[in-house]
């Protein structure tokens, strides 16, 4: 281009335009990949073994961190809730507080963040390395669609694992809160459960929590797989993609949580 007084601002403007176009292109590629993965779901029916392996890699291997985190989150909720509620003479409401926080929010959200960190980053690194070592191209050479064969089972595995992990997190958390509140601090056991059952609604709270975690499972796995599939085929590229998976998945989960909560619990 010509040199002139307007050159610097025009370059800056072009950089902004390029960045926006890049983002839009990435967004488009992510959606095309999603369509490909969804189209590949029926081909999983004759090969359940592919899904089984992913349920193990995403679900079973995340159980330990999810259960231990759930236990401690529940125990901390029990402890802090007791200190606040006992000031108002309402320590019997501890069960409601612990269960509502876990079932509605912390169960789905914290589980999604943990899975994004443990399984999501592993998925990105795995797919990114497959791309770098040209295993995906190799599959294509053998007339096997890598999106259907490699990515679809991982998406379904993440989608199915998340609600089960979130349910484990919430259930263990409630038991942790019970252990601290009733076992250590002396809240009445009957009141703990009865108040909880009176206030926690199956459809309004438990089912909405499950719906949230299904959405989170889908989005976290989608982001992880796309980042891996779209990674630059270098060591730096894979490490950047892995970081981006954790950051983007966490931000997406938190933003979606706000939207879903507003839709589900807003009167």
């Amino acid at each position: 281009m010509t040199d002139g007084p307007l050159n610097a601002p025009l370059n800056a403007l072009a950089a902004v335009g390029r960045a926006v176009l890049d983002r839009v292109a990435r967004f488009g590629r992510a959606h095309l990949l999603l369509l490909g993965m969804l189209a590949g779901m029926p081909s999983l029916l004759p090969r359940p073994q592919l899904l089984l392996v992913q349920l193990f890699a995403i679900g079973v291997l995340s159980v330990l961190i999810v259960v231990v985190s759930g236990l401690f989150v529940g125990m901390v909720l029990g402890l802090q809730g007791y200190y606040v509620l006992s000031q108002f003479g309402a320590a019997e409401s501890l069960g409601v507080m612990v269960a509502a926080s876990l079932v509605r929010e912390l169960g789905p959200v914290v589980t999604a963040l943990l899975v994004a960190g443990r399984a999501g980053s592993a998925l990105t690194a795995e797919i990114g390395l497959m791309k770098t070592t040209e295993q995906l191209s190799g599959l294509e050479m053998m007339a096997v669609d890598p999106v259907k064969r490699v990515l679809s089972p991982r998406l379904l595995g993440g989608f199915l694992s998340m609600p089960l992990l979130a349910a484990l997190f919430s259930a263990v958390g409630v038991l942790g809160g019970y252990f601290v509140g009733v076992g250590l601090l002396g809240v009445d056991s009957g009141a703990f459960w009865s108040q909880m059952q009176a206030k926690i609604d199956f459809e309004g709270d438990v089912l909405n929590g499950v719906i949230k975690s299904l959405v989170f499972g889908f989005v976290v796995t989608w982001i992880a797989l796309f980042e891996g599939y779209d990674a630059s085929p270098t060591a730096t590229g894979i490490s950047r993609s892995t970081t981006r998976t954790v950051v983007n998945a966490a931000l997406a989960v938190l933003a979606l949580d706000f939207v879903l909560t507003a839709l589900m619990f807003g009167d």
Partner: protein, 156 residues
């Protein structure tokens, strides 16, 4: 082969554990175990003011839950709130002249309907209306009345 079997066992255990956790949340943490499956009969009551009474609020007699509020709508002819209650099937001996009050659980708790049985020999049936009702106590109205009575005392 052994590895596949271990994988299947691990995934199976994960699925079972997740479903048990969901079952625990449904039956022990939420109110699913207390819900009636829609069996029972409906009775209707008109209130001048239902306060913050909500759908699915408990309906109780002598402190025992006998049903739930099914719907709350506004009657444009009577200028009153119409509350439909679903009473469980086994509580079929409630007299027709029963009194329905809207109470508050605890100091600042949720509103619920308390039924006070009358002396009639006839029992309520599906679709019956309760004639005697008392509205929810609204804090602002109580304070207003209290201030008014204090002002009248001052005049005397």
């Amino acid at each position: 082969m052994v590895k596949t079997r271990m994988l299947e066992i691990a995934v199976g255990a994960f699925m079972v554990a997740g479903l048990v956790a969901l079952f625990f949340l449904a039956m022990h943490v939420s109110n699913l175990s207390q819900l009636t499956g829609g069996d029972g009969y409906r009775i209707i009551a008109y209130f001048d003011n239902v306060g913050s009474l909500k759908v699915r609020a408990p309906v109780s007699m002598s402190g025992v839950r006998v049903g739930r509020v099914e719907s709350i709508v506004y009657d444009q002819q009577r200028f009153q709130a119409v509350v439909t209650m679903l009473i469980e099937e086994q509580f079929n001996e409630i007299p027709t002249d029963t009194f329905a009050n809207i109470f508050t659980a605890g100091l600042l708790g949720e509103k619920y309907i308390g039924l006070d049985p009358g002396g009639s020999m006839d029992a309520l049936a599906d679709g019956d209306k309760l004639e005697h009702t008392q509205s929810a106590l609204v804090l602002e109205q109580m304070i207003g009345r209290f201030l008014l009575s204090k002002a009248e005392e001052g005049v005397d």
